[in-house]
Symmetry: C2
Subunit: 246 residues, 2 copies
DNA sequence: CGATACGTTGACGGAAATCAACCCCGGTGG
DNA sequence: CCACCGGGGTTGATTTCCGTCAACGTATCG
């Protein structure tokens, strides 16, 4: 491993989408010791019940947090993209209550908890930024709850595509309203609380309305205005502004 | 206002259900300046879009966090009971993305943000406890997402009653498996993502199965084992253990 | 004592699940 | 080279759960 870790760049990019960082803070992030690993799709990163001693930082690819109900049906609770630390909460919560796994092939960096604690202690403002990051994730959970409870399938799916476009744009992964979307329709159903069959019908509905295209692993948003209107999308909950952090 | 604020007691009780506090930390909490107000049912505490300069601490009664979809249907995202600080996230997130209101008559304490920041700074461990508290709330959101997406109405409702019994027990508000439940069936529907009519049918189903009684504002759990089995309830996600906080 | 909000019940309709079959495509091995 | 295989996508038939609408009962409170 190098003394400097340019792998941290996606993280810095992400944090700068929600706050401002000083040069010293960026330098401290770049000094964070981490171990990078390439993973195939559908690999577990953290399992429900684990007591991890490290955090995961997604560098490339898509990961997901999920739970199963008693009869084995899966609910995906969040998707994670480059720059995300999906299990930041393990810093302060001992037993993990969700599973975390790759959805597509991923590059993942592992950071030992002591290094994170040390960083939060030596740079309290960074500690607050990480806190802010977990709060924004909670805000996304709340929006997803509204979608799960009170939106029809087509509105919910439209909302999800809007969220992906917005989040991926914030870290520079969108070109011409297109982005890589390496997810099966079944996995999308696990996120929307729908069956794979019904996801298929709704996708076709969105295609027929000329709102999106989805071929192989590429999604293109054809009509942002109408897609956002259908999904009742308001990006406030993503808190993508460089707010002050105490 | 007094120099000491025994109003903080519910908060201390709550925090002690998820961590251990030193005498000095408890004293610091007791010194927190706050303003106490009695409120009627269905009053707004924080509105979506606000930029609050204070936090709310529930001392008595039930409050709820909620959002509306475009056609005005409400989704309740969380219920708050004595000891909860429902808008702790406003410390690090400027614009609030949810509304917060009382469900029953409530006693609420208001704490100015600067006092909270000061407390987190002078007692970093308390800062971490508050962080932990927000992370536990996020964990509850995740469990609710699983319930919303993948549980039938009756399982979901059973789960909610189990959660209430467990949380209220942790702060000493349960006697003989009974607790005060000052919520209408319509409000319960807003939390479960169901219509009020269907809530009524499911409540009757739980009554017929001799799992609960619900008269006026009192709920009694008659058969914890079967209720927990029906709701697929596992309290891990509440993190009600006195874990270490770094 | 009447106003009003909440709870209860029945009839009906619609959204999504389930079941089952089939297609398409990329990969793999004979 | 092709035959086979398997995962994912697509489609149709049927069922189930829950929403909506409407009516009526009931309790609480001014």
């Amino acid at each position: 491993m190098d003394a400097l870790h340019p792998h941290t760049l996606p993280l810095i990019l992400k944090l700068e989408s929600i706050t401002t960082l000083s040069d010293e803070e960026k330098a401290a992030l770049l000094r964070l010791p981490m171990q990078v690993r390439s993973m195939r799709a559908d690999q577990d990163l953290v399992r429900e019940g684990d007591r991890p001693s490290q955090c995961c930082l997604i560098l490339d690819g898509f990961a997901a947090t999920y739970k199963f109900n008693a009869e084995g049906k899966r609910q995906i609770l969040a998707f994670h993209i480059a720059g995300d630390i999906p299990d930041l909460q393990s810093l302060h919560i001992e037993v993990v209550d969700t599973s975390l796994g790759t959805v597509s092939p991923c590059k993942v960096a592992f950071i030992q908890h002591p290094h994170m604690h040390e960083l939060c202690h030596s740079h309290p403002r960074l500690g607050n930024v990480f806190w802010r990051e977990t709060l924004i994730n909670a805000s996304i959970f709340r929006q997803w709850m509204l979608c799960l409870g009170r939106l029809s399938a087509s509105r919910h799916m439209a909302h999800l595509f809007c969220e992906f476009l917005t989040r991926l744009k914030a870290i520079g992964l969108v070109k011409d309203n297109s982005f890589t979307f390496p997810i099966t329709q079944g996995e999308l159903g696990d996120a929307l609380g729908l069956s794979g069959v019904h996801v298929n019908r709704v996708v076709q509905e969105l295609r027929e309305k000329n709102l999106i295209t989805w071929e192989r692993t590429t999604v293109t948003v054809l009509d942002w205005e109408r897609l956002a209107a259908l999904g009742e999308f308001d990006p406030t909950y993503l808190h993508l502004s460089r707010n002050r952090v105490a």
